[in-house]
């Protein structure tokens, strides 16, 4: 993997979040060793995240400290590993940093001033550089993501195109006829058009007006073949969209009934909502 590819791979992000696998962490370490700029980026990301975690700090109750170290002391006693002597050495050692204490430098103010000016210059330089560097990294990664999204969209559009082309061909076919399904007293305004072609195994239904069923009900489509109602399947309630339906040979009429969720084996004839002669 070249450096650019590594940078846009997102491995560094996983690494600093502590989510990288051992192998991935090893890869990141190798790049950090090889490229000082990567190393410094990781360091600054780590520091920023740590600061962020600290920004979410909540002081635990003081008793927790006693409880924790009480447990620790028991463990230590059990393992009979004492460290009293080290404690003393430690507290006598002035070089050891303390969390809350701040060391005061004895360097002259002038020295500090010059040093501070230098640091300002450097930190602004670094800030500027980091920003620019970040921006280009981000652009690469965003472009990669956009490319992936474009490819996904293109696949969806391609698929839709194929569906539309098939529908278009079906509708323009000279043997395709229109069947009007009109509403019954159950739904006087209901209206749908089926596109029917005796040479095809399927047909289309376009629901133009039909009341939305309750959540526990579904519409079901039936074909009347010589007095027998043949199940053509449950209709998804989608208005003004071509719904693909099977074509039943020798169908004399198409009928839509309202059934319980999941559909029925025989139609509920009192609940016919639309009907049309083939």
């Amino acid at each position: 993997m070249d450096k650019e590819k590594f940078l846009s791979s997102g491995l560094i992000d996983l690494y600093v979040l502590g989510l990288a696998s051992e192998e991935d962490a090893e890869i990141v370490n190798q790049y950090a060793e090889a490229y000082p700029d990567i190393k410094s980026m990781i360091t600054s990301l780590n520091v920023s995240l740590e600061q962020y975690a600290r920004a979410n700090s909540v002081d635990p109750p003081p008793a927790l400290r006693e409880k924790t170290f009480g447990e620790l002391d028991q463990i230590i006693a059990n393992n009979s590993i004492g460290s009293k002597k080290r404690d003393e050495e430690y507290s006598n050692n002035p070089n050891v940093p303390k969390a809350a204490s701040e060391s005061r430098s004895s360097v002259s103010n002038l020295g500090i001033g010059v040093g501070a000016l230098l640091i300002i210059g450097l930190s602004f330089g670094m800030f500027h550089f980091n920003n620019k560097y970040d921006k280009s990294l981000l652009q690469v990664s965003e472009l990669n993501n956009q490319l992936a999204e474009c490819e996904e969209n293109a696949a969806i559009i391609d698929n839709n195109n194929q569906i539309f082309a098939a529908q278009n061909e079906f509708l323009r076919n000279e043997r395709t006829v229109h069947i009007q399904l009109n509403g019954t007293p159950n739904a006087p305004n209901a209206f749908a058009v089926a596109y029917w072609n005796e040479e095809e195994e399927y047909a289309y239904l376009n629901i133009l007006d039909l009341p939305q069923p309750n959540a526990d009900k579904q519409y079901q489509l039936w074909a009347d073949v010589e007095g027998e109602m043949i199940n053509m399947g449950i209709l998804d309630y989608e208005k003004e969209k071509l719904i693909k339906i099977p074509r039943i040979a020798h169908a004399e009429s198409l009928n839509v009934t309202l059934e319980n969720l999941g559909g029925a084996e025989a139609p509920n004839v009192s609940q016919i909502f639309m009907s049309g002669k083939v």
């Binding site: 502590g18 920023s48 920004a55 109750p61 170290f69 080290r86 980091n130 965003e142 993501n145 999204e149």
Partner: protein, 194 residues
């Protein structure tokens, strides 16, 4: 690496009690804040901190600098301990995801925030909600990208780029913070000279 971290690593390596005291005094509040976000119970979060401290003590000699910072190593222990708590049969789940909604703890931790570092609060506030959510899921709660994808129902590509943007924003605001701290320090120094 900061001097305090070096000292902690050194002391934990030889199992010196002071090492753990330094850890506690420097990091317990951060750990407690994170544990609260995951387990959403003060009592449980305290257990998490206590257990984590003991694990840090027991495994401190196994910490390897090559695998990341000592802070990240400890954080990992804390979040794993916290997540284990949520998986225990006694845990009454409210759903891990709910920690991301504004919770009752929000006010607590906001008000108890350590204000010793300039602009920390801004750092949190400046991060847009959608980035904050992802960083907290990944960093505080150890969600993988796939888990985030599933939980938030957004494409993995978007998860990745949001993580990237969130980290960049954090880093940017941190860099800016340093610059401001330096300017403030110099301002104070110059005014004290006058």
């Amino acid at each position: 690496m900061k001097a305090i971290e070096k000292e902690i690593i050194k002391l934990l390596h030889v199992k010196d009690r002071i090492g753990l005291e330094l850890v506690y005094d420097n990091y317990a509040a951060a750990f407690y804040g994170i544990a609260l976000k995951v387990v959403k119970s003060e009592a449980l979060a305290q257990d998490v901190v206590q257990e984590s401290m003991i694990k840090i003590w027991k495994n401190g000699d196994k910490y390897d600098e090559k695998k990341g910072t000592i802070f990240n190593w400890m954080l990992n222990i804390v979040r794993r301990t916290a997540i284990d708590k949520t998986r225990s049969p006694n845990f009454r789940p409210k759903g891990r995801i709910q920690t991301l909604d504004p919770t009752v703890y929000e006010n607590t931790w906001r008000s108890q925030l350590n204000t010793d570092v300039v602009g920390l609060q801004d750092m949190v506030n400046n991060l847009e909600e959608r980035y904050r959510v992802i960083i907290e899921m990944a960093y505080f709660q150890g969600y993988t990208q796939k888990e985030i994808e599933k939980e938030l129902d957004i494409p993995i590509g978007t998860v990745k780029s949001r993580i990237r943007i969130a980290l960049r924003e954090l880093r940017k605001s941190f860099n800016l913070q340093i610059a401001i701290s330096i300017i403030l320090a110099i301002g104070i120094m110059l005014s004290s000279k006058l």
